[in-house]
């Protein structure tokens, strides 16, 4: 009996789009809160941060979290130059998140567009695009980064450029494989038979049908991008000191892990929480994008 009654309750009611949105969001609210929290903190960094992130106090080097110095509380402790770690993590999040968002967007757009074309047109287009993919994949990302920085000079924009230009082949391969399979589907054929334009077929019919796997890659890449940025910054190719980013805090803090565990731990936890929440929101979105999941 209980089964029957619970099934009756599950029959969806027709309600406004807004209330559907909220009922959907409720299912993943812890993730949304974490994600939203990071975003808000990143956006309002100057208002939230207790210190200037670059302000050094060499008397207060490597103090553990909760130390009170000169009447000011170092909530998360201080780093090797006596800068407030909390402020640096807040400002660093700003840099890391914007680099990740931008570079993921760049590589998603380039990759899915090229992959889509290769899979749909086949022939020469396919050969040219997929060989470029192979070539880009065969060049070590670090090498490409070094070359780019050598030519263009280090900086935020160039970092985004390097990350975007080295990471798109993954999207291209998936978009290619998926769209190649889809192009043979009857509904793509019937769109062709109705005289629908190629652009419309690509973007309105094929793209929405392959967006789910691309979304999964994008969410995974998001975390990777933050780590890549860390690696490049570590090599001196990315964010330049004294500007902080999670990556640079992590890579510098590594040297002090024996005597000041908090320097790596705290940005590490932030990174972990953000990437986790993004991955899970991405997973959830992937399921939700398909209208077949709307009614359960």
């Amino acid at each position: 009996m209980s089964n029957i009654s619970s099934e009756v309750e599950m029959i969806p009611e027709r309600s406004s789009k807004l209330s559907i949105f909220f009922s959907e969001v409720r299912q993943i609210w812890p993730l949304c809160i974490i994600f939203g929290f990071f975003m808000l903190v990143a956006v309002f960094a100057p208002l939230v941060a207790p210190f200037d992130p670059d302000f050094q106090n060499l008397m207060a080097r490597l103090k553990p979290p909760g130390t009170l110095i000169g009447g000011k509380m170092y909530w998360l402790g201080s780093d090797q130059l006596g800068r407030d770690l909390l402020s640096r993590v807040i400002y660093g999040g700003r840099i890391s998140i914007s680099i990740a968002v931008l570079s993921v967007s760049v590589s998603t757009v380039i990759g899915s567009w090229l992959g889509l074309m290769a899979g749909y047109y086949r022939g020469v287009v396919e050969i040219v695009i997929m060989r470029i993919v192979d070539i880009v994949l065969s060049i070590p990302a670090i090498l490409l980064a070094i070359i780019t920085v050598a030519v263009l000079g280090p900086g935020l924009n160039n970092l985004v450029l390097v990350l975007g230009l080295t990471r798109w082949p993954r999207y291209a391969r998936v978009a290619y494989a998926q769209s190649m399979g889809l192009s043979k589907m009857n509904y793509i054929k019937s769109a062709e038979f109705t005289g629908v334009s190629v652009n419309r077929i690509l973007w309105r019919h094929i793209f929405p049908n392959i967006v789910a796997p691309l979304l999964v890659i994008a969410t995974l890449e998001f975390g990777l991008m933050i780590l890549f940025e860390a690696g490049l910054s570590f090599l001196g190719l990315g964010v330049q000191p004294p500007t902080s980013s999670w990556g640079s805090i992590l890579s510098v803090g590594r040297n002090y892990i024996g005597i000041a565990w908090w320097i790596v731990t705290l940005p590490g936890i932030c990174l972990f929480l953000l990437v986790l929440s993004i991955n899970m929101i991405g997973d959830y979105l992937r399921d939700r994008i398909d209208p077949r999941f709307k009614k359960r």
Partner: protein, 324 residues
Amino acid sequence: MGAPLIFEVKDLAIAIDEIDIVSNVSFGLKSRETMALVGESGCGKSLTALAGIGLLPEVAQIKKGSIYLQDREISNLSEKQMRSIRGNDISMIFQEPSSTLDPLMTIGKQIAEAVRAHHDIAQQDAMRESLRMLNMVGIPEPETRLKQYPFELSGGMCQRIMIAIALICEPMLLIADEPTTALDVTIQAQTLDLMRSLKEETGTAILLITHDMGVVADMADRVMVMYAGNVVEQGDVFEIFKQPHHPYTRLLLSSIPHIGKNRKEKLNVIKGMVPDIHNWPTGCRFHPRCPLADETCRTKTPELQSIENMDHFVACWHHTLEIK
């Protein structure tokens, strides 16, 4: 011949890798006329239809012949020009309707897309048009359906939607490639009825590809029988069912099972297999399976010729002989 032809295929030959798959196909269609194209799998029915809409697979090409839409030759048009014809002047529907609709787009948008591909009208007007088409193809609660996705509809319903998409621009010709094969009998009958009444309303001609003789008898005005890429018989549907001339047509019709037939009696079958395309038989392509075949059939290819000066053509040397 009365009314002018709106679609005509003249002496069409299609080749894949220089091997003739279809040859000597000629036919014409008038407004409101239904022509059935029958034959076994691989006899070139679908290729003929795809050539008609200009969407042959890349490996295949038209080697000879021409296709006319009204008086305009369309077999040599560019891809762009063809696209403006497709869906507008010539439409096509397929079997398996549920897989021919985009699973991620609402029904209304998909129908509207067909109009907007050919007419410069606003989305709202296109949606109104879609609603009108849904009413026309007899879908209950059309306003709700507009906002639904294909997975929420049954197979028969999807086929109606496909018909709505195909006919929304009031094409001159509708090519139906086994439109009812994937549907159950009741829905099949409903779909055929719908196609028939819409044909009367819009004046569309239908080229019906099928291997279901029941559908042919129900729908067609004329029948064209193909075997191994050739037309073997063509004529009025009553003539062909009453008195088929080509041995292949005769055997085909006699191999249909009948309800109420003596159960002990064996079902007639046509012996042998469809010939291999790489190795067409010489002369008449049906001769290895034909009970009437003799030396002439093995060496000389028969041409389509009129029987008794009627609108009934057959390509056989011995169409007057009895099959024992």
